[in-house]
Assembly symmetry: C2
Homo-oligomer: 190 residues x 2
């Protein structure tokens, strides 16, 4: 997706030739116009797939998933909670995820009532790198009876082997910008 | 806003005649069709106001703010972070908030680069109860040079005195459903 690649080239901050910060449009300030283009592109890539629900992970996936849902007949969005409050229903599906940016393990939870047996789920998330968050979410969904129709990722960093782990599960994986490597502070796309 | 009140009456779970859980459409599963109607309503209530940015707070405000932004010429959304990662810029505006649902104090942060001197900010959030989160956000914004054009809240619980604290600041406050009290497990709107 050219618009997204241009945004990354022009606005991402590269730290230590390793970390890509896209706070300017994806993770802190949100570019709603871009998110709408992302929604159109995911609709194109998952055309013909039946989708009854979009599932994402707190926090950065929520805004994207919500805009994307508008291109899939406004299906409900459910986000896996990382920081469940005292009032959260205890009847949940749960999985463990290791965060490399926070250097700690955490649990993600979804109330069972929001994953129905006939649901066809499209997973949406902002980043795929180690694949840890996405694999955690897939593990969580596998405890329910939903069908996973696909996974749509905004930015994938292939050099961290996340893709392989997802494809082995037989899930259609679509990433809108795939970063092959970072050299001298420059992003090189696949 | 009738549609919202109906949703609350029909789908909210009332706990101890005190806590209103709207996980079904606002805080865990997200009703994107409803959010679009919320966007239209906020546009109507803040008609004529100049808005260059929408600011909200992690987590539940993010999806609503993103959909609402579409009714304000797709202005950027910035969310105050509760759970900043290791990579977050250290050059931030910061304020303290006490959470009654998590029973602890936390910091909210926004990178200074995303609050510009000429910004006219519309604050959007899901709940107004004690007013603690909203007052924290207003304090944070007051450290920058932005102008606060208004605050749009989806559900207000007036019995917790949040409104008074905001109005004293001279900020236009619009809540789409105002809950006067809860009796015998039933919500009574103002």
């Amino acid at each position: 997706m050219q618009l997204l690649k241009d945004k990354i080239r022009n606005e991402a901050k590269i730290i230590d030739n390793r970390i890509i910060k896209v706070d300017n449009f994806l993770n802190h300030q949100l570019d709603i116009t871009l998110f709408n283009e992302i929604g159109k592109e995911f609709k194109r890539r998952f055309a013909g797939k039946e989708i009854t629900k979009i599932v994402t992970i707190e926090t950065s996936g929520i805004a994207i998933a919500s805009i994307v849902a508008q291109y899939f007949d406004n299906v409900p969005v459910v986000f896996a909670k990382k920081h469940a409050g005292l009032n959260m229903n205890q009847d949940v599906f749960e999985a463990k995820v290791y965060s490399y940016t926070k250097e700690q393990e955490y649990s993600i939870k979804i109330s069972k009532e929001f994953l129905r047996p006939n649901d066809k789920v499209l997973i949406i998330d902002d980043f795929l790198a180690s694949g840890s968050a996405l694999m955690g979410l897939i593990n969580l969904l596998s405890q329910s009876s939903v069908e996973i129709s696909g996974a749509g990722i905004v930015i994938e960093k292939t050099f961290q082997e996340g893709r392989k782990r997802i494809l082995e599960k037989g899930i259609q994986l679509e990433s809108l910008a795939i970063i092959d490597s970072i050299k001298d502070g420059q992003v090189i796309f696949k």
